[in-house]
């Protein structure tokens, strides 16, 4: 019997001219783990919101069709009424944390849905243990990393023992090993899971069924094996993890050398201890390693945004840096001004850079009116416009769909081939690189070693 049923669902957000989803219909049987795939902006998050009742109750707009979850029609049941049966983990963990202490954050949902007081702490502890976050129980949420917060948020969802678990890119801030363990634990809960994920191979490894959405329409609803065949035939970039090759020119002079760098934040243990690295013109170097291993710190040191406590950084030219989640850090009121900021207000150069990332049409719009994927591209244009000799990118593929990732990879290869150096901090092992530098865990750091 279907636990969840979506029938002819169409939804247009208030103020939007086009529907976010159109005529979506599917049913979920008990215990199914469904991978919800599709490009950025295709309607995946809207479908998750509809299943949680947030569409139409929280987001105003035009709703047609129906979604029935755990026997309740979301048109009449409010999201708060569905909470408990349905649990949602949103894309950005920082935007969903309410409480100050991690274990209280996990307890928040249990208190809201009226779980008996004597049951709350045992369920909190069990949920934290399930996601490998028991050690975080008494930590302040403002001091947790993105990956740690994602685990706490998942614990908050699992503690509810929901019949339907909705996950919107829940592993975007986890390293591959942690993400694998995370998803295996999710699949083992026995709950009905709908998982929206841009790392397709990761999602397919636990999914029993696949829904593929594009332009708001459901193009595929099939078991995982059949879906793999369909993806290979129709959307090959989604079928397997792309392994890009770096066809950049032969590396020449160094553009940056980092010698014996030590760095620690405030009173904490050093994140980097005696790390050395060289980036040459024409090459792409990736920094890999688990959460907390110091990838971002090393990237910022290379870009000159941090100064090492010991060691020397030499740059032979100008550096440009694209931060994690660049769409959040937008400073101007118009897209064109955002890009022109880095070139002294030169609008003509800014427009050319926008055209290169396919955002020429949005030049006069407000940056926050753009979708998350468009904002990411805007952030890239804002850095590339200055044509830095050393381009440093921190997790540039986070939340990026396979097609955009391919475009990004080609852009970066072209950029390196033009005689500049590129340094990437990333969890994504499929990205092009001439050299891959692996950093150890936070407690086993000693040196950066060249892995390939």
């Amino acid at each position: 019997m279907a636990l969840t049923r979506v029938d002819q669902l169409s939804f247009t957000y208030g103020g939007a001219t086009a529907p976010a989803v159109t005529d979506i219909s599917f049913e979920l049987a008990e215990g199914e783990v469904v991978a919800l795939l599709g490009p950025s902006g295709s309607g995946k998050s809207t479908i998750l919101r509809a299943l949680a009742g947030l569409v139409p109750h929280f987001h105003g707009g035009t709703f047609r069709g129906c979604a029935v979850v755990d026997g309740r029609d979301t048109r009449t049941a409010r999201p708060a009424d569905l909470a408990g049966s349905v649990a949602t983990v949103f894309q950005d963990p920082e935007d969903q944390v309410v409480m100050t202490i991690a274990r209280n954050e996990v307890a928040f949902g249990l208190e809201n849905v009226g779980v008996r007081p004597d049951e709350i702490w045992p369920r909190v502890e069990r949920a934290l243990a399930e996601v490998g976050a028991r050690h975080l129980a008494l930590r302040r949420t403002t001091e947790l990393s993105g990956g740690e917060l994602q685990r706490v948020c998942l614990a908050g969802a699992l503690a509810l023992r929901p019949t339907l678990l909705l996950l919107d890119e829940p592993t975007s801030q986890l390293d591959p090993d942690a993400a694998h363990v995370f998803l295996e634990r999710v699949a083992a809960t026995g709950a009905n899971v709908v998982l929206s994920e841009q790392r397709v191979a990761r999602a397919l490894s636990v999914a029993t069924r696949v829904l593929f959405v594009e332009d708001g329409r459901l193009l595929l609803d099939a078991p995982t094996d059949a879906a793999r065949e369909w993806l290979a035939a129709h959307r090959p970039l989604y079928a397997e993890d792309m392994l890009f090759t770096d066809k950049a020119t032969v590396p020449s002079d160094p553009v940056a050398t980092l010698e014996e760098l030590w760095f620690s934040y405030a009173d904490r243990d050093p994140v980097l201890r005696g790390v050395s690295l060289e980036v040459r013109r024409g090459e792409i170097v990736t920094l890999e390693g688990p959460n907390g291993s110091g990838k971002s710190t090393l990237a910022k040191l290379a870009a000159g945004l941090l100064d090492p406590q010991r060691g020397v950084v030499r740059r032979f030219g100008r550096a440009g840096y694209l931060s994690q989640d660049p769409g959040r850090y937008l400073a101007c009121e118009r897209v064109v001004d955002e890009v022109a900021l880095g070139v002294g207000g030169d609008a003509a150069r800014a427009l050319r850079a926008l055209d290169e990332v396919g955002l020429g049409w949005a030049a006069k719009r407000h940056p926050r009116d753009l979708s998350s994927g468009e904002r990411e591209r805007l952030g890239l244009a804002a850095v590339l416009v200055g044509e830095p000799d050393l381009l440093v990118l921190d997790e540039p593929t986070r939340g990026v769909d396979p097609e955009r990732k391919a475009e990004l990879a080609h852009s970066i290869v072209r950029y390196a081939a033009s005689g500049r150096g590129v340094l990437l901090a990333t969890h994504d092992r499929s990205f092009p690189a001439a050299r891959r530098v692996s950093l150890g865990g936070p407690r086993e750091l000693g040196e950066a070693r060249v892995a390939a």
């Binding site: 949680a52 009742g53 947030l54 929280f58 409010r78 999201p79 708060a80 009424d81 909470a83 349905v86 649990a87 949602t88 949103f90 950005d92 920082e94 935007d95 969903q96 309410v98 409480m99 100050t100 202490i101 209280n104 307890a107 949902g109 249990l110 208190e111 809201n112 849905v113 009226g114 779980v115 008996r116 709350i120 702490w121 909190v124 302040r140 949420t141 403002t142 001091e143 934040y265 405030a266 009173d267 870009a303 945004l305 100008r318 440009g320 840096y321 931060s323 989640d325 959040r328 850090y329 937008l330 400073a331 900021l341 880095g342 926050r368 952030g379 416009v385 200055g386 830095p388 440093v392």
Partner: protein
């Protein structure tokens, strides 16, 4: 000590600082609160301390110039339209020091509350106006979030080769940081609704009961306020 008792003590010290008339008393309260704040190991400590002390110092500078009080003139400056003659008297300096110390003491009490107390437990102890209490707790947590957003934004701008320097450089980041916080607020509201906030029949996780030391702290808090009114 339970957070509720500690919060009562901090509130009492802040109230006593506002009620006291003697500079030495207010300065002693501020010094005590500063010591308490320095016990916090949070990475945000410096930012909070600056936020508590800088407005007080600014008040100390501006007060003598803007107030007209006393006869023992130490410095007589030019005449400014609307404000009048800029002169500084001993009495004005005294008033400036007292009010600056009061402001700093209140700021330090808030800093200790923000950095050292478990706001969740405070929230759990509130039986009336729970939504308002949650709003206050979220607002407290907004400070480090805003700080992180501001640092991230400054870093993003510097990453494009644009220097972020001086008051003007930082002031231009204010509007995008506020816009970002509004976006965060909307996302948080959505997440809270999805997690059942506001639903009837909510329960609370059991918390440890108050002990003797907590009741004692409450008594001391009352005594501090009374002392502030009568003797300090």
């Amino acid at each position: 000590m339970r957070p509720g008792a500690a919060a009562a003590l901090l509130a009492a010290l802040a109230a006593a600082a506002l009620l006291a008339d003697r500079l030495a008393s207010v300065a002693a309260i501020a010094a005590l609160l500063l010591v308490v704040c320095l016990l916090a190991r949070s990475p945000q400590r410096r930012m909070y301390l600056l936020g508590a002390i800088v407005p007080g110092l600014a008040l100390f500078v501006l007060w003598p110039l803007l107030s007209v009080e006393g006869f023992q003139v130490l410095w007589s400056g030019p005449s400014v339209p609307v404000i009048g003659t800029l002169d500084v008297t001993v009495e004005e300096l005294w008033g400036a020091a007292l009010n600056a110390a009061r402001l700093i003491a209140v700021g330090l009490a808030f800093t200790a509350y923000a950095l050292l107390l478990d706001h969740d437990e405070l929230l759990a102890g509130v039986s009336v106006a729970r939504r308002s209490a949650l709003a206050a707790a979220l607002a407290t947590r907004l400070v480090p979030t805003l700080q992180r957003d501001a640092l991230g934004l400054a870093e993003a701008v510097r990453g494009r080769g644009v220097a972020v320097e001086g008051l003007r450089g930082h002031a231009r980041l204010l509007s995008p940081v506020v816009a970002g916080s509004l976006e965060r607020a909307l996302n948080l509201a959505e997440a809270m609704e999805a997690r059942g906030f506001g639903r009837a029949g909510a329960t609370r996780a059991p918390r440890p009961p108050w002990r003797g030391v907590d009741r004692l702290a409450l008594g001391v808090a009352v005594a501090v306020v009374v002392a502030g009114v009568l003797w300090l």
